[in-house]
């Protein structure tokens, strides 16, 4: 059974069709990359999977159940979603941020969580490389440190499905690597991970499978090396590989 799936899902935003009859699924133990040019619908797919985008047609499923029939708490337990924009209105401490990952179990801040939940939060902080930051307030952190704190929050849910939008955005090379390694480790623990990625080299390196979106439709759904062939690169991304490395417009 897949942890998350879209079945002929369409999403309309402001009269524009953002997703059109998209079907996809993510299985346990799998790290699936979501690739595509800007505006292809990557973020919308992740929102739809997490039950946050109302569908105009089709169905979104978490653990085989239609998300529309799930309560907010049930939804929060089945999927963790990390938005591209990692904003916090208040300068709370990193461990209170990570504790929000347990919200579907307990809405308390870190100190008032049950011991078992607190251990899960500690573990998530450690895996995201944010353990040393735990007591610091968010506005005392660099961008990279904040990204790790938010990643720890998403890990703390221990949800079967982890949907991450641009995990490597605005991170330096080392932190990009570490963020991807954390997602890989999550998948290896048996969770289903789906991540929107712009860096096609990272897709090749880390993902078991890539789903390429183009103008709200699935253009390819296969192992990265098979999917990201010259024809698709030209057609969807408008680029070709340079022999010297990197990409250039066709």
């Amino acid at each position: 059974m897949s942890a998350g799936a879209l079945i002929h899902a369409s999403v309309t935003l402001g009269g524009r069709c953002v997703l059109e009859e998209v079907s996809l699924s993510v299985s346990p133990g799998e790290l699936v990359a979501l690739a595509g040019p800007n505006g292809a619908g990557k973020s919308t797919v992740l929102r739809a999977l997490a039950g946050l985008a109302p569908l105009s047609a089709g169905e979104a499923q978490l653990g085989g159940t239609d998300v529309k029939t799930l309560s907010p708490t049930q939804r929060g337990r089945k999927a963790a979603w990390l938005a591209q924009e990692r904003a916090s209105a208040w300068s709370i401490r990193v461990k209170d941020l990570a504790a929000l990952g347990r919200f579907a179990w307990s809405g308390a801040p870190y100190e008032r969580l049950a011991e078992a939940d607190r251990a899960i939060v500690d573990d998530a902080l450690a895996r995201a490389g944010a353990a040393a930051l735990a007591d610091r307030p968010l506005d005392a952190l660099s961008g990279g440190e904040q990204a790790r704190a938010h990643l720890a929050r998403a890990l703390a849910a221990r949800a079967p499905l982890l949907a991450v939008d641009e995990p490597a955005a605005a991170l330096d090379l080392r932190h990009q690597y570490e963020a991807m390694a954390v997602l890989r480790a999550e998948a290896d623990l048996g969770r289903s991970v789906i991540a929107a990625l712009h860096d096609l080299d990272a897709v090749m390196l880390w993902a078991d499978r890539v789903i390429v979106l183009d103008q709200g439709r699935v253009a390819a759904d296969a192992a990265p090396r098979a999917a990201l062939n010259a024809e698709l690169l030209a057609q969807v991304f408008g680029v070709r590989r340079r022999s010297a490395g990197g990409y250039e417009p066709v």
Binding site: A89, I92, R93, L100
Partner: protein
């Protein structure tokens, strides 16, 4: 400092402020006479001053402050903005409009309860409008703008009533009301507001965890498993009930709903869920002390509490706004 210690310290501060308010005044009383008066013993004069004159006024100041402080903290958490207060969503202005209508049409002459009842009814009307808007998928910015519109509209109608005031006495009544004061309040005034305050406090409790999740924005909060619609409804309705009661008792008293949460926020580690109760206690103590200061101030005519609150609060508001980094998010 734990949550319990913080709330304990603030509650004791509030009690001390109330006690000071009972002892001090044009006829100062000893601690012994004050305490004796409170339990209905002691000399007749002291008992009368404590129970009949000072206690209702001091309690009115404390409870009005507490209601506005809690209301401000709830709205700030909901709107993720440190500048939100009961004025922002237009609840205060609508409640005041209700009172103005009662005075203008002479309803207040028919019954002493007309002013409070109309204030609470109009706060409820504002709450109903806002709750209706909140139940649709309106963004926070849209909700704030709707509140600003409501506030301006209610303010314009209040100004119109003053413009067309039938007699100088009506005008003077209106001005007195709009300036905000807890002078000459009775237990009857408090009793009328009490049910609304109690209901508001109970409903507020249901919004607290959701406010914590809303720290990360509405969409992420929803993904965490927070019931956003319920949180919004509870926070708005609770805030309206608390504010409606406060305006019914004391007229318009601004800024305490912004200043108190701002002072307390660092002490609760910026947690919007833990902020509400300490904000209420701090705002109550602040307003009780402010009213005490006004009673003791050597002015020929007593300064109105709402005027004093604005004189201190408005510069504080500007200072908070200038230092805030999260406005407009």
């Amino acid at each position: 400092m734990t949550r319990l210690q913080l709330n304990g310290v603030l509650a004791l501060t509030g009690l001390a402020a109330i006690l000071a308010g009972l002892m001090a005044g044009s006829a100062p009383l000893s601690l012994a006479d004050t305490l004796a008066g409170l339990i209905g013993a002691g000399p007749d004069g002291a008992r009368l001053i404590v129970l009949e004159i000072r206690l209702p006024r001091v309690l009115a100041a404390f409870l009005t402050g507490a209601a506005l402080g809690a209301s401000g903290a709830l709205l700030q958490g909901l709107l993720r903005n440190p500048l939100a207060d009961p004025g922002v969503l237009g609840v205060s202005a609508m409640a005041a409009l209700g009172a103005v209508i009662a005075i203008w049409f002479g309803l207040s002459a028919l019954s002493a309860f007309a002013v409070p009842v109309m204030a609470i009814a109009f706060a409820g009307l504002a709450a109903a409008v806002l709750a209706g808007l909140a139940a649709t998928r309106l963004s926070v910015v849209q909700l704030i703008l709707a509140g600003v519109g409501l506030s301006s509209f209610a303010g314009a109608l209040s100004a119109l009533a003053m413009n067309l005031a039938p007699t100088p006495f009506t005008l003077s009544d209106l001005v007195n009301w709009l300036m905000g004061s807890v002078a000459n309040r009775s237990f009857a005034d408090l009793a009328l507001a009490a049910p609304f305050w109690i209901a508001g406090a109970v409903i507020a409790v249901f919004a607290l965890p959701g406010l914590r999740a809303l720290t990360l924005g509405e969409e992420t909060a929803a993904s965490l498993g927070a019931d956003i619609t319920r949180t919004r409804l509870c926070a708005i309705i609770a805030s309206a009930l608390l504010t409606g009661g406060a305006v019914a008792v004391a007229g318009i008293i601004g800024f305490v709903g912004i200043v108190a949460p701002h002072l307390v926020r660092p002490l609760v580690r910026h947690d919007p869920g833990d902020l509400v109760l300490p904000s209420a206690l701090a705002a109550g103590a602040l307003l009780a002390l402010a009213d005490l200061a006004l009673r003791l101030a050597p002015f020929p005519q007593e300064l109105k509490l709402g005027v004093a609150a604005a004189l201190v609060g408005a510069p504080a508001f500007i200072w908070i706004a200038a230092r805030s980094r999260s406005i407009g998010r």
